[in-house]
């Protein structure tokens, strides 16, 4: 695979990672903690390094459950697969095991260095890594079979993010980390990205898009938004979201998520004409169930198990039983996994 025929940005190969002229930082881990982590990566294997420095993230990086959602796709060894926002390689590395030609793109070099170690350890030499800001990524038309956008779309309007401090932030430094080009609203940024993806996939290619549902049933009872840490924010009209975000965090609300109808409309506007929805329970990151509308008959309550409080257990169990198992209201599912094709 000739990467420069697919990624049209000006690229330079540096220590096995293609470097564009745009980068950034998005991670669960503070950037200053990464230095020792990267030093150890030279002498230890990737799993050992994560266990030493960030054991709390071992599961999200290495668990085989991470790739449950993409298993609904049929991967052929001849496929060119782009993982947009690949981060640590939780999806890209398993997909590379399938024999596919994988292109992992991420703005955070540190994450990609771990992913490179994982690929080298597994002997997977058919993957290429590109450090590039996704909003500045340029792709050749009709060059990719499958594009994976897993928990990324909602972050496109944000700039650099260190997730812990981002979620705890009140009125402080993160207002400096907003992207410079936020004269566009998040919808326009996300739509522009989706249009770019649409142009880049082949006629019979597809987009795999995983994202939280704005109207997840638990958002109505005050569950924290996993992006901003705020309660109730996703369910309000946009102007109220903006007011709440400015009041409590001092910055704009940029991590827009959508309802099923809104997401479908956006994908149609981006040029996708064949759109299938699946519903991920209890989340898309490590789904236990990924169901079609018809498959909702298989849905069972799951999220009550993560709580110790009897009241929360009973409440969640009841809500999920009524809305998912009995009424089969997929529009209130925790997350969407969308397969979108041009035709």
């Amino acid at each position: 695979m000739d990467i420069q025929k697919i990624v049209k940005n000006s690229l330079k190969l540096q220590d096995g990672i293609w470097q564009s002229d745009s980068g950034g930082y998005w991670s669960n881990i503070e950037q200053e903690q990464m230095t020792k982590f990267l030093e150890d990566l030279d002498s230890m294997d990737s799993l050992a390094v994560v266990r030493k420095h960030f054991p709390q993230h071992e599961e999200v990086i290495f668990s085989p459950q991470r790739v449950g959602g993409v298993g609904i796709l049929d991967f052929q060894p001849s496929d060119v697969v782009l993982d947009a926002g690949c981060m640590w390689g939780a999806l890209a590395v398993p997909i590379a095991h399938m024999g596919c030609q994988v292109i992992g793109v991420d703005q955070t070099r540190e994450s990609m260095q771990l992913m490179k170690s994982r690929l080298d350890e597994a002997g997977l030499d058919q993957a290429q890594l590109v450090q590039c800001n996704l909003n500045k990524l340029q792709l050749a038309d009709e060059s990719i079979d499958k594009v994976i956008v897993n928990g990324v779309l909602e972050w496109l309007a944000e700039g650099n993010v260190e997730l812990d401090s981002f979620q705890k932030d009140k009125l402080s430094k993160n207002s400096q980390t907003k992207k410079a080009d936020t004269d566009q609203n998040p919808y326009d940024i996300q739509l522009s990205f989706l249009k770019k993806i649409n142009r880049s996939i082949k006629k019979d290619g597809l987009l795999y898009l995983a994202i939280e549902n704005r109207f997840d049933i638990i958002n109505f009872i005050g569950a924290k938004d996993p992006h901003t840490g705020q309660r109730f924010i996703t369910i309000w009209p946009r102007f109220i979201q903006e007011f709440m975000a400015k009041k409590f965090t001092g910055r704009s609300y940029l991590t827009w998520t959508y309802s099923k109808a809104e997401l479908k409309d956006m994908l149609i506007e981006a040029g996708f004409n064949n759109i299938e929805f699946r519903y991920a329970f209890s989340n898309y990151r490590q789904p236990e169930l990924v169901l079609t509308d018809n498959g909702m008959k298989q849905c069972i309550p799951l999220r009550h198990r993560t709580f110790n409080s009897i009241i929360k257990k009973v409440l969640l169990y009841s809500l999920e039983t009524v809305f998912y198992s009995w009424l089969r209201l997929s529009s209130l599912a925790p997350a969407f996994i969308v397969i979108a094709k041009k035709q």
């Binding site: 668990s63 085989p64 790739v67 498959g295």
Partner: protein, 242 residues
């Protein structure tokens, strides 16, 4: 396609059900994205091939596709319609099925003198049509290493373990039924009678001795990891003294 069983931290296999345009399930897809799951797929295929031969069924109608690559793979199996009963179902649902479980075991395994094992012959892996066993699924632990009687002792002991774990009320009749089938299993297979005096302890011993057989799934085996007091309690309840 619906994902109905995602890989856990112990297994590396994902299970999907494919639907037709009417929403009826037609095939089961088992997929692994890493080399650790490939052995499971191979065992599954071997087990199903053997099983189909025993039942004089066309193998190609059971295993529709096998695409196991160097580091990942997928197999596609025929979906068998019927009723399934999970390990936590109450006694009134589970115990009436014991007769058909032992009959099916006799049909399939007698020809090899019971020297081959399914490896996870629990009620949850049986598909029933009415009162009869229609099909047996999940052959990933198919082997010829386990001792005589392991499969049937699993069938008749495991539900009781889960009932005791979850403090399910058991009547004297429930217990007598369990003991009756353990005795029937011993008569059929011919394993040592002492096993049914302490079936839980024996199950634990076998699980631990054959740790390598289970691979990464050993960590979730209930007999290997439950409290020793529960094992003793189960033997005191279910063990056959006469």
């Amino acid at each position: 396609m619906n994902l109905i069983c995602n890989a856990s931290h112990y297994s590396h296999q994902h299970t999907y059900l494919d639907e037709d345009e009417n929403g009826e399930y037609t095939t089961v897809r088992k997929l692994t994205f890493n080399p650790k799951g490939i052995a499971s797929l191979h065992h599954e295929v071997k087990g199903l091939q053997w099983y189909a031969q025993q039942l004089k069924t066309d193998v190609d109608s059971c295993i529709l596709k096998e695409d196991i690559r160097e580091k990942a793979g997928v197999i596609i199996l025929r979906y068998v319609h019927g009723e399934t009963i999970n390990n936590l179902a109450p006694p009134q649902k589970t115990l009436p099925r014991f007769e058909s479980i032992i009959q099916h075991y006799k049909t399939v395994f007698e020809q090899c003198q019971f020297t081959i094992s399914h490896g996870d012959y629990s009620i949850a892996n049986h598909i029933f049509r009415g009162a009869e066993v229609e099909w047996l699924v999940d052959w990933e632990h198919f082997n010829s290493e386990l001792p005589l009687g392991y499969d049937l002792v699993t069938s008749f002991t495991q539900p009781f373990l889960f009932w005791l774990m979850h403090k399910q009320r058991l009547s004297r009749k429930n217990i007598e039924e369990g003991q009756y089938f353990l005795k029937q299993a011993q008569k059929l297979v011919g394993f040592d009678q002492s096993i049914i005096k302490h079936p839980a302890k024996w199950m634990r011993k076998v699980c631990i001795e054959h740790k390598s057989l289970w691979g990464s799934q050993y960590k979730k085996m209930p007999f290997a990891h439950c409290q020793p007091t529960l094992i003793e309690h189960l033997d005191s309840v279910l063990g056959v003294r006469k």
